[in-house]
């Protein structure tokens, strides 16, 4: 077996170890790379920033712990952004596991900015059915969500006074890791009811949302942990996304090196065979 063949059959556990080190070392010894903000994230930030105090934002959480490192920092930063600007939040979700994550984000930000559950924010909980839930809520929120996520009647909450349907919502933000998620909010809330919709999505799905952004169907887009780090940068806070960016850089560097290295030996082997 020559060196080219040996390298091609490298034990994958060596690659696993290298990947782990590429993440662990920068977390233990931070480099402090500066983060550049991209246009889609700036648009997202501007969409929230443009709302006057007292506005109502609907934050729908369509993600789960499996994508938490990417979407949860966006959720936390968004709740902070809203409360900092005295914007009220109506939370809900089309994935059940997103409900406590959204609730935790709002509670954490509420504590920092002195906001109260039921007055400044509420969590209406989860409904199954994706696109049809959005359609039902667009016409009648109290009918679709008679109780909050923990089973309390929503008429008990001051924030719900005067909220009937999407006419009473100024901006809709879907934090999504798949379907149902942002695309369904665009299809119904934006397409049918003309509401402003912005999205925070996982990096895996982000490339597929650029057509919506280009067509003006999305007000802004945060993609993955990098997008969350950019949003944190705009808010001048340093959350878990920002702290992960050094490791992200080094791990990307490693993977690019692995691809180039493997291709170099592949081309070398091909030339030898000729």
């Amino acid at each position: 077996m020559n060196i080219v063949e040996r390298l091609e059959k490298l034990d994958r556990r060596i690659i696993f170890l290298l990947t782990l080190l590429a993440v662990v070392i920068p977390l233990l010894l931070p480099i402090g790379f500066k983060i550049k903000v991209s246009e889609p994230v700036k648009l997202f930030y501007d969409a929230v920033e443009a709302l006057p105090p007292g506005s109502m934002v609907l934050v729908s959480s369509e993600y789960s712990p499996s994508t938490m490192p990417e979407v949860y920092p966006m959720n936390q930063a968004l709740a902070r952004h809203c409360f900092k600007k005295d914007i009220k939040i109506v939370g809900m979700g089309l994935w059940p596991e997103g409900i406590p994550l959204n609730q935790a984000s709002m509670e954490q930000a509420a504590e920092e900015y002195g906001k109260e559950y039921g007055v400044d924010y509420v969590n209406l909980g989860y409904k199954a059915g994706g696109i049809i839930v959005i359609s039902a809520a667009a016409e009648n929120i109290p009918n679709t969500f008679p109780l909050d996520y923990a089973g309390r009647p929503i008429e008990e909450f001051e924030i719900m006074e005067g909220i009937r349907n999407f006419d009473n919502i100024d901006l809709i933000i879907s934090l999504s890791a798949g379907d149902p998620g942002v695309r369904h909010w665009v299809m119904i809330a934006q397409g049918r009811y003309g509401k402003k919709v912005a999205g925070g999505v996982t990096a895996v799905s982000a490339p597929a949302f650029y057509p919506y952004l280009n067509a003006g169907q999305l007000q802004g887009l945060i993609g993955g942990m990098k997008g969350a780090a950019e949003y944190e940068t705009l808010l001048e806070t340093s959350g878990t996304a920002t702290r992960g960016m050094d490791a992200q850089s080094i791990a990307h560097g490693l993977i690019i090196f692995l691809i180039l290295f493997a291709n170099f030996f592949y081309l070398l082997g091909k030339r030898r065979k000729k």
Partner: protein, 219 residues
């Protein structure tokens, strides 16, 4: 105390799953099965508190909205699928779900994903400002910005041509389809890049938990 116990429990289960990298083992299998059981229960509890209680039980039995008997019966018919002899009755609720979804999809997909996307592509081919910019300030980015709109128009058109299978991909048509493939390859490359980014982010999240919350090695 209870918080510390939680962190240790979380760390142990994280390491159980991580051990799969070495090879499939009983620790991983234990965690995997526990995860499935717990997830199923989690969903079941949310179905009850967030849907069955507010949208069925309370309005039907508390406020006497008798029309809700229909979805209740249809729902029970759905569960009948578990019993092979009467499983066919589940077709009724299934038909309702499929029919409703198809109705919604027909209009919304056409509007948001076809017509709106075509409309957004129909923009002036030459953006005079970008070209002026290129000639006054030549560089990589001014060049890329000048060709941006033609790239989009050509990319979308040839990409759609590639998906048109009613005509054989030969001659000029085949040439356009081939250009379409190049654009699809760039899109897949971008998606691959973003997928790598996503997976690394997930690992960072877990490693951060182990180093920060569990071991306290980072502040």
């Amino acid at each position: 105390m209870i918080e510390t116990l939680g962190i240790w429990m979380a760390a142990f289960l994280t390491l159980c799953i991580l051990s799969f990298l070495y090879k499939d083992n009983p620790f991983y299998k234990f965690a995997e099965h526990l995860f499935v059981g717990l997830s199923a229960a989690y969903w079941a509890v949310y179905y009850y508190f967030n849907i069955l209680l507010p949208n069925l039980i309370q309005p039907l039995f508390g406020h006497g909205q008798l029309l809700l008997i229909i979805p209740l019966v249809l729902g029970i018919m759905m569960i009948m699928r578990l019993f092979p002899k009467v499983g066919w009755v589940s077709r009724w609720p299934l038909a309702f779900i499929v029919g409703s979804y198809s109705g919604y999809n027909l209009i919304t997909y056409l509007q948001s994903k076809a017509l709106e996307q075509v409309r957004a592509t129909l923009v002036p081919f030459i953006q005079i400002e970008s070209w002026k910019n290129l000639f006054t300030n030549p560089g990589v980015m001014t060049f890329l910005n000048a060709i941006a709109v033609p790239v989009v128009v050509v990319g979308v058109t040839t990409g759609v041509i590639y998906f048109f299978f009613s005509k054989e991909h030969k001659g000029v048509f085949g040439g356009f389809a081939r250009i379409g493939v190049w654009f699809l390859m760039i899109a897949f490359g971008a998606s691959f890049g973003y997928t790598v980014m996503a997976r690394i982010s997930l690992l960072i999240g877990r490693v951060y938990f182990l180093l920060h919350d569990w071991l306290g090695l980072i502040q």
